[in-house]
């Protein structure tokens, strides 16, 4: 099946070639640039994507977010996995 379904807490997500997170000064906004697409992540998505560095596991991203936002880990985990799976399905993230 698709890459998106196989993304788990053990995966190490990264931005594949052709897709990157970038700050745009004119708009004062972070953006994900992808082939013929531009995504504007909301605050939650941005917090996740800024931790995607090609070497950090999803589990560690969740731990960090749970700590920083002082939120229950299960809640954060579901949000993070859902977001990353969706983006993986679109090819914006690889794992």
């Amino acid at each position: 099946m698709s890459q998106s379904a196989t993304l788990t807490e053990q995966s190490v997500p990264r931005f594949p070639r052709g897709s990157r997170l970038q700050f745009n000064a004119q708009r004062q906004q972070w953006m994900v640039q992808a082939p013929e697409r531009v995504f504007m992540p909301d605050e939650t998505a941005l917090a996740v994507l800024q931790r995607v560095d090609g070497s950090t596991r999803v589990a560690a991203i969740i731990d960090d977010l749970a700590r920083v936002y002082a939120a229950p880990r299960e809640v954060i985990r579901d949000d993070v996995l859902e977001l990353l799976r969706e983006l993986a399905g679109k090819g914006v993230i690889a794992a």
Binding site: R20, Q33, P35
Partner: protein, 388 residues
């Protein structure tokens, strides 16, 4: 402070030169000659100006952009200032070393067009012997260089029955994005319209093929599907609205709101050789002419979709109704819609027809054939390659 939101993307037509002669080519029939093309420095300066006003992506296009020997330099410069670079190519001029050089320069993405699923018909449509096999080889080099690939499939009456095989081919080449676009009937597409318009039955069958392929390829490839205007009920939000998100720069430096805009008489387009890009975007008369909703006639003016589709395509309104300020006749609410739909249906029933190939030599022939030369300076128009 700027009143206009910044444009998202720019279509840089680096050249009109092209080894292919596709009958639906969207380039102007009157092609800019090589000596008029912007220099390397001028393109690089344009990239800087574009980044400064907030442009995020550049589509490097043509003609065939790889004709330009300075393509790597332009890519390098764009990447240095943070612009996302997308190469839109027919691929036939590329070899593996050049693909690798472009990847090393920082190219982000490559889009290759295919004319059909098999070499025979594909090379006939593209008018370039051996083109199909060459494209396949280049697609493999692109993936080997680690670059993401979009395969662009332009479909029309003569290849629609192969659409399933074309999508399969694209998926087998590891394209992450597959763009299926019905020919837009402008420019050379307009000249050759009668030979290209699909029948309603063909369009319905194509819709099914795409739906099935989307389900099958989920998670592997995304399929973007551009439906044919003639059979639509509501128009496409052409370019996300006139002069709202995109701009095109022609090989000689003229700045257009969409790359067909040149076909509309009475609009004066300014050149980056004469005025800074920021000023053209903000205040050029041609950009302001159809920006927003103030210019709209009824039924658009009071329609609740006016800020969704922005009244459709100005160039299509001009090409089909003779008035660029009319509601796009692709809209079912246009008083001209029934006539246009009937024309498409009628033309789709005539035989295979022969294509008139694009080249410098056939300009006059094309003008005559288009029958549109009387009250227009230039018979052609085009529509951008649906920027996502």
């Amino acid at each position: 402070m700027s009143l206009m939101p910044p444009p998202l993307a720019i279509l840089a037509e680096l050249t009109h030169r092209c080894p292919l002669r596709c009958p639906y080519c969207s380039n102007p029939v009157e092609l800019a000659r090589a000596r008029e093309e912007l220099s390397t420095d001028e393109w690089i300066d344009l990239m800087r100006q574009a980044a400064a006003i907030g442009v995020l992506q550049v589509h490097l296009s043509g003609g065939e952009p790889t004709v330009r020997k300075d393509l790597e330099q332009i890519v390098t410069a764009a990447r240095e200032i943070g612009i996302y670079t997308n190469l839109i190519t027919s691929a036939v001029l590329l070899d593996q070393a050049r693909v690798e050089a472009l990847a090393a320069a920082g190219l982000d993405h490559v889009q290759i067009s295919f004319q059909d699923s098999e070499p025979g018909p594909a090379d006939r449509i593209g008018g370039y012997a051996g083109g199909h096999e060459k494209k396949r080889a280049v697609a493999a080099w692109v993936r080997a260089a680690g670059l993401p690939l979009t395969v662009n499939l332009v479909v029309h009456r003569q290849n629609l029955s192969h659409l399933g095989a074309m999508i399969e081919m694209a998926a087998s080449m590891d394209a992450r994005r597959i763009e299926v676009a019905h020919v837009q009937y402008y420019g050379w597409g307009l000249v050759n319209r009668a030979a290209l318009v699909p029948t309603r039955a063909q369009v319905a069958a194509a819709d099914d093929v795409v739906a099935e392929a989307r389900a099958r390829l989920e998670g592997r490839a995304v399929i973007d599907y551009v439906v044919p205007d003639y059979y639509a009920r509501r128009p496409k939000p052409c370019m996300g609205g006139w002069a709202r998100q995109f701009l095109t720069v022609t090989p000689a430096g003229k700045v257009l709101p969409c790359h067909a805009a040149d076909s509309i008489p009475g609009l004066v387009f300014e050149s980056i050789r004469e005025r800074p890009l920021a000023e053209i975007w903000e205040s050029s008369e041609a950009f302001r002419r159809f920006r927003g909703t103030d210019w709209m006639p009824e039924p658009c003016r009071s329609c609740d979709r006016r800020e969704i589709d922005w009244g459709g395509c100005r160039c299509q309104a001009f090409a089909l109704v003779g008035d660029a300020a009319a509601t796009d006749p692709a809209c079912g609410l246009s008083p001209h819609h029934a006539r246009i739909a009937a024309l498409a249906a009628r033309e789709s029933e005539v035989g295979e027809g022969s294509f008139l190939y694009r080249s410098f030599a056939t300009v006059d022939e094309a003008r005559a054939a288009s029958g549109l030369t009387r009250d227009r300076e230039r018979p052609e128009a085009a529509v951008p390659p649906a920027p996502g």
